[in-house]
């Protein structure tokens, strides 16, 4: 079910990434202020936007689970959050590399954008121990969904709070009153955002396909009354359809 269109999506993602990287290194001009280091933004910013949007999407699927009771939505919510946490690791590392190159420090604690993202990341890092501390699958799914909805609502609020903080340290390169990106940079940025977004969707679909296959295998094993395989104590939610 989830594997449908995965091949096309993968090809589109690879093509989009290739185009985006070509634009970054061969088309977009060097930033007058930051120079070559600014190229990190074409990766860092789309990764952070995708990651934060992924957390919200995870919350939306969690609402669908709570409303319908269908465990498939819980699995989708879990995968969305899982991928967003992985992308979040990328955001923190690439952001630190940029900070080191521009500010001379790997991390700055008095910068709201950095600290707020770290808070969101750490919040979602607690999703796993919280989820797996509950043994009963039904309760696990329900509580995890409540967590995903609450934390998902926190993400845009957090974003707004940071925007209102109006830090002068973290550069605003996208739609600011002082002037946004020039056309060529904006085009490159949008291409990168599309490519990273596609990558996120492809990986979500890939993981859901694997989970679906694993779930169906379990059902088949039960139907055949076959012995359980070695090391088959998975706690991550399976997709049964």
């Amino acid at each position: 079910m989830y594997g449908k269109g995965l091949k096309t999506l993968s090809v589109a993602t690879v093509a989009a990434l290739a185009v985006a990287l070509s634009l970054v290194f061969f088309y977009a001009p060097l930033d007058a202020d930051q120079g070559f280091v600014q190229k990190i933004f074409y990766l860092h910013v789309p990764l952070s936007i995708t990651s934060l949007a992924g957390f919200v999407v995870g919350g939306v699927f969690a609402i669908a689970h709570l409303r319908s009771g269908d465990r498939r939505w819980d699995a989708v919510s879990y995968v969305c959050i899982h991928l967003s946490v992985i992308f979040g690791v990328g955001v923190l590392i690439t952001g630190s590399i940029w900070a080191r190159a521009s500010w001379g420090h790997w991390w700055v604690w008095d910068e709201p954008t950095l600290v707020s993202f770290l808070i969101v990341f750490l919040l979602y890092a607690t999703y796993y121990p919280f989820r797996y501390a509950i043994e009963d699958p039904e309760r696990q799914a329900r509580y995890a969904s409540v967590f995903a909805v609450t934390a998902g609502a926190f993400v845009p609020l957090n974003f707004l709070a940071v925007r209102l903080a109006q830090s002068l340290v973290h550069p605003r390169v996208f739609a600011t009153t002082e002037g946004g990106l020039p056309g060529s940079m904006m085009l490159t940025f949008l291409a990168c955002l599309l490519a990273i977004g596609l990558l996120w969707v492809t990986l979500v679909k890939l993981e859901l396909t694997a989970k679906s296959a694993s779930g169906q295998l379990k059902r088949l094993r039960r139907a055949l009354d076959a012995p359980a395989p070695r090391g088959a104590s998975r706690v991550a939610p399976e997709v049964s359809v």
């Binding site: 590392i93 190159a101 296959a213 295998l217 076959a226 395989p229």
Partner: protein, 65 residues
């Protein structure tokens, strides 16, 4: 904020993009390992089903005789 010279900035930019690549490659490798495990289990299950069918067939033949 003065711009870093290209030779110095290059290593940071390369570092950031390599981190991203490594992250994706590691994730895909883990997923590939999972798919391999599913494939192996599926083979085991197919073998189990075939073996059970053979045993059933053998019991039926023995009963007929």
């Amino acid at each position: 904020m003065p711009a870093l010279p290209l030779d110095e900035a290059g290593k940071y930019v390369a570092g950031a993009y390599v981190v991203f690549l490594v992250l994706i490659v590691v994730y895909v490798a883990i997923m590939a390992a999972k798919v391999q495990r599913i494939e192996r289990e599926l083979r085991e299950l197919a073998g189990f089903a075939e073996q059970r069918n053979d045993e059933k067939e053998q019991r039926r033949v023995t009963a007929d005789v």
